[in-house]
């Protein structure tokens, strides 16, 4: 089986960022939180590969540590979304047409109706801005995405012969969902997970940009962009590098998601081939 080009490229780009985040725990060129006012706004050079910001912090080090924040938020929020959304979707599908199905799906519609940014602002207003609250807001937004996908996929699986066989064998709905339905949905969920991962990174950047994500001094790509805004005209490197980091990570994850779909979903591959 050939690995699709998109998957290879996206995988490499994503891996580079994960590696950077991992490496930042052990080593960064400079302390990402150390200020050096005398060295501020230096353009990229051999000493500072991506230059320095308005406090003289090394931008390359900040992007490495910032990757940590982005990835942590994305992983945790996809985790919340999957952890709650998938069981809800399975449950709704197992009891399709019942009042429970209605309650779960209409609840999903309700959450869907609120933009995640609005949820985040509400949480920040109530509990104060922090990374945890950003994770919570993005995670809540992810629940209906996974619940809907799972229910749709599970509904068609419930009609299949092997599920009928399992029912005839006397297995309960919960056991069938766990043993027969879920494994057959794995491909679908992995692909969607990758896409939601990139959405999580984008939303985290947006939240930090408006000041309700990671709080200083924790470096964050979105806040780096916000701080660079008034200095773009004389220190463009301050906006360029965090901007590129966001674009490349999101692009990499989307390519990976597309590539995975091509690889894992045979019907989709037939259509595109």
């Amino acid at each position: 089986m050939r690995v699709p080009f998109a998957l290879a490229l996206g995988g490499i780009v994503s891996l580079v960022f994960v590696a950077m985040a991992g490496l930042s725990y052990l080593w960064t060129p400079y302390d990402a939180e150390a200020l050096s006012i005398a060295n501020r706004l230096k353009p990229p050079s051999a000493e500072h590969w991506f230059g320095t910001d308005h406090f003289g912090r090394d931008i390359f080090s900040m992007i490495m540590v910032g990757a940590r924040t982005s990835i942590a938020v994305a992983v945790a929020s996809v985790g919340i979304g999957m952890g709650l959304g998938v069981p809800l979707g399975l449950w709704a599908a197992a009891r399709r047409g019942s009042w429970l199905d209605e309650v779960i799906m209409r609840g999903n519609d309700l959450v869907f109706a609120f933009p995640s940014l609005l949820i985040a602002i509400m949480i920040a207003a109530l509990a104060g801005p922090s990374v945890m609250n950003a994770i919570l807001a993005i995670g809540i937004f992810n629940i209906p995405v996974f619940a809907r996908l799972t229910r749709g996929g599970a509904l068609s699986l419930w009609q299949r012969e092997f599920v009928m066989a399992a029912r005839v064998a006397g297995k309960g709905a919960a056991r069938i969902s766990a043993e027969h339905i879920l494994p057959n949905l794995a491909n679908l969920l992995i692909v969607q997970g990758t896409i939601q991962f990139s959405v999580g990174i984008l939303v985290e950047a947006a939240l930090s940009y408006v000041g309700i994500g990671a709080q200083p001094p924790t470096p964050s790509w979105g806040r780096m962009l916000a701080e660079a805004q008034t200095m773009v005209s004389f220190a463009p490197h301050m906006a360029l590098f965090p901007g590129l980091a966001i674009v490349l990570t999101v692009l990499g994850l989307n390519l990976m998601g597309d590539g995975l779909r091509d690889l894992l979903d045979p019907r989709g591959r037939e259509r595109t081939a």
């Binding site: 150390a34 200020l35 006012i37 501020r40 308005h54 406090f55 000041g211 004389f234």
Partner: protein, 488 residues
């Protein structure tokens, strides 16, 4: 025929270029209401003071006190009775005449029990206000106050008329050289020339105050000419670009804004003077001025404006000395440091200064949890709720050292000695004696390390190079347009 037309064109072009008579000023904050006598926000005075509303006296661009609606005044020998002679033939914008009864009404309203005036302390010493006749007012004080004519020059002490005061919040009626025209909420306030003004007529026919809170948008508005001047430009980092552009002039002056690291004196461990002194020695002021304000600002060592003649430079008392700070912390029992909160309001001096201070405090072992607050949250949590360890804010009121005598003020400094100093200041009328007492007061709070004294906020304005007469300094909260004109 063609020739004739061409000549006409040339003549038209060569004719005297008429100077512009309207101006658009940019401001970062919009006033919440238009009542200078009932609203604390500086933005109210920045639109109305000296333009629309006038008081008995006024603060001039150099900080001196000048006659306004009072043409002259006398003080009795015991310093208790002030007699103000009022200007003749002054009318309010709604056509009613200005007379002594308006002064009595305004001052009685400001000092009344139920008054919402933001600076009631200005009027606290008034025993009675009476009209001797239509043009003479006598104000009796309960104790001598050498600063009284200055107090009456504040924006909070402007004269209003009983006929129009009910709608003042949306339609301010004053006696000034401009009349209020329109307030488009969220966008702009416009004022137009008052043809019946009692004093020297102003050069401008119309002025618009445009509210632009985003620094990037402010930069764009200046560059495209949507705004002619930004008296306090919100992003100091962009000033260098305006400086090299011949279309603009950068006006750097002083303000009354003492920018301080306010410390909750009642919250442990800040109730220990050694901890507060350690804070002071941990702070490198120059790094904050350079990093947060791009070099604009003057270091201060106490809560007093350096351009005031009575100022004493006490920065040496709290010089940058991290080793000393660590030693003091160890002495106070915090050898391993401690963790506190640092709550920051929106201005960039606070947000950026906060990050720098957090890094400097970390050097001596003090960890801070930074939270960025909006103004409303800051007022609620910090200023009124006193739920904070440290915060950064600029105190822009003139001559406000008296706040240290208020036990319940948000930094909760309580010192009987300081209150005694302030009391003696209010009794002193001799200028030399007042200076000596003011210096004693400055030293007292500097030696008690009440707050971390950072820098005096600079007034960094940007204006079209052809505008003349804008205030360079900000001795009070105002954008006085009475002397502003366009170069021809």
């Amino acid at each position: 025929m063609k020739h004739l037309l061409l000549t006409a064109c040339v003549v038209a072009l060569a004719g005297p270029a008429l100077a512009k008579t309207d101006i658009t000023l940019g401001m970062q904050l919009e006033p919440p209401s238009l009542d200078p006598t009932g609203e604390a926000a500086a933005a109210v005075d920045e639109v109305l003071y000296a333009n629309v509303m006038e008081g008995l006296t006024r603060i001039a661009s150099d900080g001196s006190i000048q006659p306004a609606l009072a043409r002259a005044w006398d003080v009795s020998a015991d310093g208790l009775e002030y007699t103000f002679l009022l200007k003749d033939g002054v009318t309010f914008h709604d056509g009613t005449t200005f007379e002594a009864s308006d002064v009595v009404f305004s001052l009685d309203r400001a000092r009344a029990e139920d008054s919402t005036n933001a600076q009631k302390a200005l009027f606290a010493g008034i025993e009675s206000v009476e009209a001797l006749n239509d043009m003479v007012v006598r104000i009796t004080l309960s104790a001598p106050n050498g600063n009284f004519p200055f107090n009456l020059g504040w924006g909070d002490a402007v004269i209003v008329a009983p006929e129009s005061v009910d709608t003042i919040a949306t339609n301010p009626i004053g006696t000034g050289p401009f009349k209020f025209e329109e307030w488009r909420q969220g966008d702009q306030i416009s004022i137009v020339k008052n043809p019946d003004y009692w004093g020297a007529p102003v050069a401008l026919d119309r002025a618009v105050f445009k509210f632009i809170s985003d620094p990037t948008a402010a930069f764009a508005a200046m560059m495209t000419g949507d705004v002619d001047a930004f008296p306090v430009f919100p992003a100091p980092e962009n000033l260098a670009q305006f400086e090299v552009d011949p279309r603009f002039r950068v006006i750097v002056g002083s303000t009354e804004g003492e920018t301080i690291l306010s410390t909750n004196n009642m919250q442990p461990p800040f109730d220990d003077v050694r901890v507060r002194q350690a804070l002071a020695h941990a702070i490198d002021r120059q790094a904050i001025i350079d990093g947060a304000m791009f070099g604009y600002g003057t270091p201060i060592g106490t809560h007093f404006a350096p351009h005031n003649p009575a100022y004493v430079d006490l920065t040496a008392l709290s010089s940058y000395d991290p080793d000393r700070a660590r030693a003091l912390l160890a002495e106070a029992g915090f050898a391993d440091g401690f963790t506190t909160t640092l709550k920051l309001p929106p201005p960039s001096y606070a947000r950026r200064g906060g990050e720098i201070i957090a890094a400097q405090l970390r050097e001596v072992g003090i960890e801070t949890e930074i939270s960025n607050l909006e103004w409303a949250q800051w007022l609620e949590q910090v200023f009124r709720g006193r739920d904070y360890g440290l915060t950064i804010v600029s105190h822009t009121e003139p001559m406000d050292i008296g706040i240290y005598a208020r036990d319940d003020y948000y930094f909760q400094y309580q010192s009987e000695d300081f209150k005694a100093i302030m009391e003696s200041l209010n009794l002193a009328t001799d200028p030399a004696e007042r200076t000596a007492i003011l210096q004693q007061a400055q030293e007292h709070i500097a030696r008690d390390y009440v707050n971390g004294y950072l820098f005096q906020l600079a007034k960094t304005g940007v204006a079209d190079a052809r505008i003349r007469g804008l205030w360079a300094n900000a001795p009070t909260q105002a954008n006085d347009l009475t002397g502003v004109s366009w170069e021809e």
